[in-house]
């Protein structure tokens, strides 16, 4: 995990210039596996929470409007 201090010198040398020890990643090289992992987890969480709230919190707490 890189600390903010270690990143700061790279920043000062200009935003386009990659900082010390870091690399330029082009469109073709970039595979956002991490993003897929994060959004995929969010997807599962949404489904589970939604189902819980709908079928447990809501549907079991009568009375409901039936017509």
């Amino acid at each position: 995990m890189s600390t903010p201090e270690s990143a700061a010198p790279g920043k000062a040398s200009g935003p386009e210039a990659p900082s010390e020890g870091s690399k330029e990643i082009s469109l073709d090289e970039f595979e956002p596996y991490g993003t897929l992992a994060v959004t995929g987890s969010y997807f599962v969480l949404l489904l589970v929470l939604y189902a819980l709230l709908y079928f447990v919190e809501f549907a079991t707490h009568a009375p409901h409007i039936i017509d």
């Binding site: 990643i25 709230l53 919190e57 809501f58």
Partner: protein, 557 residues
């Protein structure tokens, strides 16, 4: 050399807008603190339980309408000026919309705050949704109308710059920031027409006594014609920041310019015709339109879910360029020590949670469990109250040096601010959500009734009240941090030497997308058609039986 040196006129305008926004934020935030303590019965010494509604009106109007609008006009002025590379076309015109918005705000705020002054004979405790027949002082409505018209002129100013730019660049793609501004404002013109008609045609004549009675359903429906799109009016400027600036703050580049454009088109098309989802519990709205709203509202999840991917992947790009790796570990390589980045990232995380509660609200029948309960403020303090507000505060840290030519002051405080806000909002919002599930209503000064006990699904009432109160205090502390940093920078910031204001180009640029995405006429046409499908019949029905009937007498508050 930075923005203020290249465009001194625009910089002054942006700063003026920001200052009004922050004054509104300070007052509105203090009112929020009062509410959090009053509702929970932790401290009820600031106002009476009746004056609570004056305070609540002030909180809603100053934060949701004034703070947001002024910050957005400032931010967008900055974006248009920098990407069109021109100063505002006519300084007098620019300041005239600003002054009009300020005058409107002062009028509305006077009407609200006068309610707290005994004997002033003026009040407007109608809340920021101002449903008639509750009636406020005419100044309240006239001021709001001026605020909206001023914002329309601001948009006119940017379209003016855009046309000039277009004349010099007939074949170029619209630069991304200006593109986002244009699409937000096209949406804003369409939706705010509803509230403008409501206020100018119905409420102003009625509040002045020119007409006696009012039909409550018509203005309510016109309000919600505007009222869902307004949430995207608050959100899209945060997306503007997340798409165009956050990737750079993360050390990377925007992953996809084409998909950004597609997302903004979606919002233009779908934001307005779904307002009925705020009327799921209403009589007088047919089930057909409630079903339509259900489906269209869930479809509008798509552009937000796409945004999640594009924004997170742009951050991941930054993290990997900074040496990050792994499926989740790369997040540790992000610059968690830089206030602007931290604020935007935490705002995004909270938005993911707020997105979930929004999906529940959208879902027709389960909305009956939470409609008008504390769940709702729990939800929108994550969206407008954090995704928008915290992003705005965070990006202020990055913009101030460009606008003032000064170094940010109190950097430590600036870094502590988003973390503090995040903690405060976690406490307040989770508790409000859970209270809502138990049926605790929103918009009440004393939500615990003598004869009613709440069946709390998780936790206890007392525990949730404490979380709301402590959360509210923590949020207020974070707000003070923010004001100190901004005030300190304005008055005591050291001259900045090397302002970092560049934004690297996207990984996949506009050249990868079809030109039709930039066809404004086409998308406006489709948007208007969808609005007509959704609203022409119900509105016609409400108007046909007489504009003001079935009419009820006004009830001044």
């Amino acid at each position: 050399m930075t923005f203020v040196n290249h465009y001194p006129k625009a910089a002054r305008l942006v700063k003026a807008n920001f200052i009004v926004a922050f004054v509104a934020l300070a007052i509105g935030g203090f009112f929020g603190l009062i509410q959090a303590l009053h509702r929970t019965d932790v401290f009820r010494g600031f106002v009476s339980s009746v004056e609570y509604y004056d305070v609540l009106t002030g909180h809603g109007v100053l934060l949701a309408l004034v703070f947001t609008t002024f910050f957005i006009t400032g931010l967008y002025q900055w974006g248009v000026t920098r990407t069109m590379e021109r100063e505002p076309e006519n300084t007098t015109f620019s300041w005239s919309w600003f002054v009009m918005m300020v005058v409107g705000t002062v009028m509305t705020a006077t009407a609200i705050l006068a309610g707290l002054v005994p004997g002033s004979g003026m009040s407007a405790a109608v809340l920021y949704t101002f449903y008639p027949p509750l009636q406020g002082h005419p100044l309240f409505y006239i001021g709001l109308a001026l605020l909206v018209v001023g914002s329309w002129m601001a948009g006119g100013d940017w379209f003016w710059s855009y046309r000039k730019w277009r004349a010099n660049n007939p074949d170029a793609r619209i630069p991304l920031q200006t593109y986002m501004v244009i699409f937000t404002w096209l949406m804003w013109y369409i939706c705010s027409l509803g509230v403008a008609l409501e206020v100018v045609v119905l409420l102003i004549p009625w509040s002045l006594g020119i007409v006696q009675k009012i039909d409550p359903l018509l203005p309510r429906t016109l309000f919600w014609f505007f009222g869902h799109a307004v949430v995207y009016f608050w959100l899209l400027p945060a997306y503007f920041v997340w798409y165009s600036i956050l990737p750079k703050l993360s050390g990377g580049r925007l992953f996809s310019d084409p998909l950004t454009r597609v997302v903004f088109i979606f919002f233009l098309l779908l934001s307005t015709p779904i307002g009925y989802h705020h009327q799921y519990a209403d009589p007088g709205i047919s089930l057909v339109y409630k079903m339509w709203a259900l489906i269209m509202t869930l479809v509008i999840l798509l552009p937000s879910l796409m945004t999640a991917f594009t924004v997170i992947s742009s951050m991941e790009h930054g993290a990997r360029q900074r040496g990050g790796s792994g499926y989740f570990a790369w997040m540790g390589a992000l610059p968690w020590g830089r206030p602007a980045f931290v604020g935007c990232a935490l705002a995004g995380i909270m938005f993911a949670a707020g997105g979930f509660s929004g999906m529940i609200n959208a879902s027709l029948n389960i909305d009956m469990l939470v409609h008008n309960t504390a769940w709702i403020p729990g939800h929108f303090h994550l969206t407008v109250g954090t995704a928008t507000a915290l992003t705005f505060m965070a990006i202020t840290y990055w913009l101030l040096p460009q606008l003032t030519g000064k170094e940010l002051k109190f950097k430590g405080l600036a870094l502590a601010q988003p973390y503090t806000w995040f903690i405060g909002m976690t406490l307040m919002s989770n508790a409000l959500h859970r209270q809502g599930l138990a049926g605790v209503p929103r918009r009440v000064s004393e939500p615990e009734y003598a004869g009613i006990s709440y069946d709390v699904p998780f936790g206890t009432m007392a525990e949730m009240n404490w979380q709301v109160a402590i959360g509210g205090i923590t949020l207020f502390v974070a707000l003070i941090f923010f004001l100190v940093v901004v005030g300190g920078t304005f008055w005591a910031g050291a001259p900045a030497t090397n302002v970092d204001d560049t934004i690297p180009p996207p990984l996949s640029g506009p050249e990868h997308s079809p030109k039709v995405l930039d066809n404004l006429k086409l998308w406006v046409g489709v948007a208007v058609a969808l609005v007509l499908i959704a609203y022409s019949l119900p509105l016609a029905e409400m108007v046909m039986d007489g504009l003001f009937s079935p009419g009820a007498f006004p009830a001044p508050v």
